[in-house]
C-alpha cells in the first residue's frame, strides 16, 4: 500500500505526537506561519509567551519537572536569536529540548533576506547538535534524531532550523522512534571492574562523602543515592544542580559546597579521604582553587559524559555510565560502613557553624533569609520552587528545604537572570497539582517581567516572591567585598512599583516590609488562585554568607557578621 504524502508542517506535529509531546512553548512569526497554521487544527497545547527567551526557559522548566523533552517553536531571524540565552542555559544544565525554528525559504538562504539569521551557525557551540533542513525528504529522520539525541546520554538542547518552503512541501512520513546514529552511542552501564574498585575504596574509607549533582536528578538516582548514604553511613553534599536528590532535611545531608556552601560541606570535602562524585562536573564555584581541592581524598567520579571525567580534577576511579544504573550496581555490592567517628566530627562542625539564618539583628528591616525560610516552612513536599539568579538564588539554595528531585529549578551553569519566572510557568503546566513558587529579585524579574501577561491570561497559580533590595545584589556584594564598595551601576533606580505593575497586568499583589507582615502575606497568597506577586522590601545591603572568595581554597571561608 502506498503511503500518502503529507506536508512538512503536518509531519512536525505528527512527530511531536509520536514522541509523546503534549505541550509546546512558542511565539509565531513569518517563517513559521505554515507550522502555526497546522497547529490551529491540532490537539497539541501551545503556550504563547511574550518573548522567545521565555519560551525556552518555560520549556526548560517543564522538561526539568516532567523529565520529558521540552519543545519550542520560534520564527526566523530575531525569533531565533531571542532563543539563544535560553538554549545556552539548557545546554549548561543538560536539559533536553527540541527547538524548531522557521528559516527563510531555501532559495533565499545566504542572501541576507528579511529576518534571516544563521541560527545553526549561531547555536553550534550551545546545542548538543543542530540541523538545517532544506529538503522535505530529510525532515522525518531529522525530527526523530533530534528527539533521540536530546533525550539520551547527557541530555541537552537540539535545534532544527527549517526553511519555510519545507513546511509546505509534501513528502512521505516514515518515522522511527529508535534511531541508529553511527556517531552517537552513549554508554549507560558502568564498567564492572571499575565498580569493584569503587566498592573496595568505599569499604576502605574512613572519611567518605558523597558529592552529587544534576546528574542524580536527570538520571532519577535519588533512591539508590539514599540507600548508599544510609547503608554506608556516608554524608551527602549536593551541588546547586543536585539539590533535592537527597532531602534537604535528611539526617546525612550537609548542604551545598563551594562559594556559598555550608561550612560543614566545605570542611568535609577538604578533610574527606574519599569523595564519591556522582553526576557533577567540578565547576569552579564548587572547587575553589583547584590545587587545594579535596587534597586528602581519593575521588570516584561517575558521569555519563566521559569528557567530564578528568576535565577539571584528577580522578582515581572513573566510571562512565548512567548515574542511576551505576549507583544501583554499587548498592548491590555495598556493605555497612564504619564512619561513626567521621560523622561525629561532622556533627560538631554542624553545631559550631550553623547557617546565618537572618533572624539576628533585624534593625526593623526584613531579612531576605527570613522570607525564604518562611516560604519553605509554609510550603509542602509537592511544592516546586523556581529561582532566578543572584543573592536570592543562593539564599534559596541555603535556606529552602528542597525535599525531592525536580522540585528546585535554577539556572546553575549559565547563571541566567530572567530564568526563574518563565521556568515557573513551565513548572505550572508540568505539575498541575503542585504549588509553584518563583523566588526572584528586582533585577532578575525585570528581565522577563513581560510574562506577567502570560500568567494572567492563562490564570496560572504562581506565587512570585520578589526579594526587592533595590540592587543587583550579588554584583553589589562583590563590589562591597572586592572593589572598595564602589557601587558602579548596581543600584536599580527607577524600578516600577511592583505591586502596581502586577495589578496593572491583572495579577494580585502584596507588599511586606517586616517579618510579621511577610508571614501574613505568604499565608494569604498561598490561599489565592491565579498569579500573585509579593514585593518583599528587604534589607538593601545584606550579603550572602558564608562565602569563599573566587579561586581560594574552599576551607578559607568568609563568615560575615552573623557569627
Amino acid at each position: 500500500m502506498k503511503k500518502k504524502m503529507i506536508k512538512g508542517s503536518a509531519m512536525i506535529l505528527k512527530a511531536l505526537e509520536k514522541e509523546g509531546v503534549e505541550q509546546i512553548f512558542g511565539f509565531p512569526g513569518g517563517a513559521v506561519l505554515p507550522l502555526y497554521d497546522a497547529l490551529y487544527d491540532s490537539t497539541l497545547k501551545h503556550l504563547l509567551v511574550r518573548h522567545e527567551q521565555a519560551a525556552v526557559h518555560a520549556a526548560d522548566g517543564y522538561a526539568r519537572v516532567t523529565g520529558k523533552t521540552g519543545v519550542v517553536f520560534a520564527t526566523s531571524g530575531p525569533g531565533a536569536t531571542n532563543l539563544v540565552t535560553g538554549i545556552a542555559n539548557a545546554y549548561m544544565d543538560s536539559v533536553p529540548l527540541v527547538l524548531i525554528t522557521g528559516q527563510v525559504a531555501s532559495h533565499f538562504i545566504g542572501t541576507d533576506a528579511f529576518q534571516e539569521a544563521d541560527i545553526t551557525g549561531i547555536t553550534l557551540p550551545i546545542t548538543k547538535h543542530n540541523y538545517l533542513v532544506k529538503d522535505i525528504e530529510d525532515l522525518p529522520a531529522v525530527l526523530s534524531e533530534a528527539f533521540y539525541i536530546a533525550s539520551t546520554g547527557r541530555r541537552g538542547p537540539v535545534l532544527i532550523d527549517i526553511a519555510k518552503d519545507v513546511f509546505d512541501s509534501e513528502g512521505y512520513f516514515n518515522y522511527e522512534l529508535e534511531r541508529h546514529i553511527p556517531g552517537y552511542n552513549p554508554t549507560y552501564t558502568g564498567h564492572a571492574g571499575q565498580i569493584s574498585r569503587a566498592v573496595k575504596a568505599i569499604r576502605d574509607a574512613r572519611k567518605p562523602v558523597i558529592f552529587g549533582g544534576g546528574g542524580l536528578i536527570r538520571s532519577g538516582a535519588a533512591e539508590p543515592l539514599k540507600q548508599i548514604a544510609e547503608t554506608g553511613r556516608i554524608p551527602v553534599i549536593l551541588s546547586l544542580m543536585g539539590l533535592g536528590a537527597y532531602p534537604g532535611d535528611g539526617d546525612l545531608f550537609l548542604g551545598m559546597p563551594g562559594m556559598h556552601g555550608s561550612i560543614t560541606a566545605n570542611y568535609a570535602l577538604t578533610e574527606a579521604d574519599l569523595i564519591i562524585a556522582a553526576g557533577v562536573r567540578f565547576d569552579d564555584r564548587v572547587t575553589g582553587k583547584l590545587e587545594t581541592f579535596a587534597r586528602n581524598a581519593k575521588i570516584i567520579h561517575i558521569d555519563i559524559d566521559p569528557a567530564e571525567i578528568g576535565k577539571n580534577v584528577l580522578i582515581d576511579i572513573p566510571i562512565v555510565g548512567d548515574v542511576r544504573l551505576v549507583l544501583e550496581e554499587l548498592v548491590r555490592k555495598l556493605k555497612p560502613g564504619h564512619t561513626a567517628k567521621w560523622l561525629k566530627q561532622i556533627a560538631s562542625w554542624q553545631e559550631q557553624y550553623p547557617l546565618p539564618d537572618g533572624t539576628g539583628n533585624l534593625n526593623g528591616h526584613l531579612k531576605p533569609q527570613y522570607v525564604i525560610r518562611e516560604l519553605s516552612r509554609l510550603s509542602d513536599e509537592n511544592t516546586i520552587l523556581a529561582t532566578d539568579v543572584g543573592q536570592h538564588q543562593m539564599w534559596s539554595a541555603q535556606h529552602y528545604n528542597v525535599r525531592r528531585p525536580n522540585s528546585f529549578l535554577t539556572s546553575g551553569g549559565l547563571g541566567t537572570m530572567g530564568f526563574g519566572f518563565p521556568a515557573a510557568i513551565g513548572a505550572r503546566l508540568a505539575a498541575p497539582k503542585s504549588r509553584v513558587i518563583c523566588i526572584t529579585g528586582d533585577g532578575s524579574f525585570q528581565m522577563n517581567i513581560q510574562e506577567l501577561a502570560t500568567v494572567v491570561n492563562n490564570k496560572m497559580d504562581i506565587t512570585i516572591a520578589l526579594i526587592n533590595n533595590g540592587f543587583l545584589g550579588m554584583v553589589r556584594q562583590w563590589q562591597d567585598m572586592f572593589y572598595d564598595k564602589r557601587y558602579a551601576h548596581t543600584a536599580l533606580k527607577g524600578s516600577p512599583d511592583f505591586v502596581s505593575i502586577a495589578e496593572a497586568y491583572g495579577a494580585k499583589a502584596f507588599r511586606a516590609a517586616d517579618s510579621k507582615k511577610a508571614t501574613e502575606v505568604i499565608e494569604e497568597a498561598f490561599k489565592l488562585k491565579g498569579p500573585v506577586l509579593i514585593d518583599f522590601v528587604v534589607e538593601p545591603e545584606e550579603n550572602v554568607y558564608p562565602m569563599v572568595a573566587p579561586n581560594r581554597p574552599i576551607d578559607e571561608i568568609i563568615t560575615g557578621g552573623d557569627y
Binding site: 553550534l124 556517531g183 578528568g310
Partner: protein, 168 residues
C-alpha cells in the same frame, strides 16, 4: 608535545565547522589540519596536529567524540605511523642559481614542477624536519611563496582507523 589525530567524520554540512569551532572554543591549539575524502563515500578524514599535554589531548579526544558527526578519533602519535606533508615553494631562480637549486632539490628528492624566466616551483614531501631543512636552504636564493597541505598520516602495518566509536 605535538600529537597527530586522525578523525573520521561524516561529510555533512557544518561538520568541519563543528570540529574547528570546538578547537577554538576550548582553547586547543591547532598546528595544522588536512581534510580529504576516504574510500567510503560520505566519510571524510581529518588529520589535525595539536599541541598540548597528555591531559589536554585526552580532553580534546573526548570532546571530539561528543560531536555527533565524528565517527572515530585516533591519536596516531601513540603508535608507529607514516606521516607526510606536501609543500610547494616558489623560489627566485635566475640562470646563474638554477643548477645549485636543482642539486638541493635532488638531495631532498623533490621535484621541479614549474620554471619561469626568474623563478621555479619546487614540490617536496616528507616530515616537518625535512620540509624545514629544504626551506632553510632555499631561503638563500629568495623564497617568493610557500604553500603546505598540512600533515596526513596512516598507521604502519595492517592496522586501520575504522569508523566505529564507543563511549560517548
Amino acid at each position: 608535545m605535538k600529537h597527530v589525530l586522525a578523525i573520521l567524520v561524516e561529510n555533512k554540512p557544518g561538520a568541519l565547522t563543528r570540529i574547528s569551532g570546538l578547537f577554538s572554543r576550548r582553547g586547543f591549539n591547532i598546528d595544522n589540519i588536512a581534510v580529504g575524502e576516504t574510500m567510503t563515500p560520505g566519510i571524510a578524514r581529518m588529520t589535525i596536529t595539536v599541541e598540548g599535554s597528555d591531559t589536554i589531548i585526552e580532553q580534546v579526544v573526548k570532546q571530539l567524540h561528543k560531536l555527533v558527526n565524528v565517527l572515530k578519533v585516533s591519536n596516531l602519535s601513540n603508535e608507529p605511523s607514516v606521516m607526510r606533508e606536501l609543500m610547494l615553494i616558489k623560489v627566485k631562480a635566475e640562470s646563474g642559481s638554477r643548477s645549485d637549486i636543482q642539486q638541493i632539490v635532488e638531495t631532498f628528492r623533490g621535484k621541479v614542477v614549474d620554471v619561469s624566466p626568474d623563478s621555479m616551483i619546487i614540490e617536496v614531501t616528507g616530515h616537518d624536519e625535512k620540509l624545514e631543512a629544504i626551506k632553510l636552504l632555499l631561503e638563500h636564493f629568495g623564497i617568493k611563496e610557500i604553500v603546505r597541505t598540512g600533515k596526513v598520516a596512516l598507521l604502519r602495518g595492517s592496522k586501520i582507523t575504522r569508523e566505529s566509536k564507543n563511549g560517548v
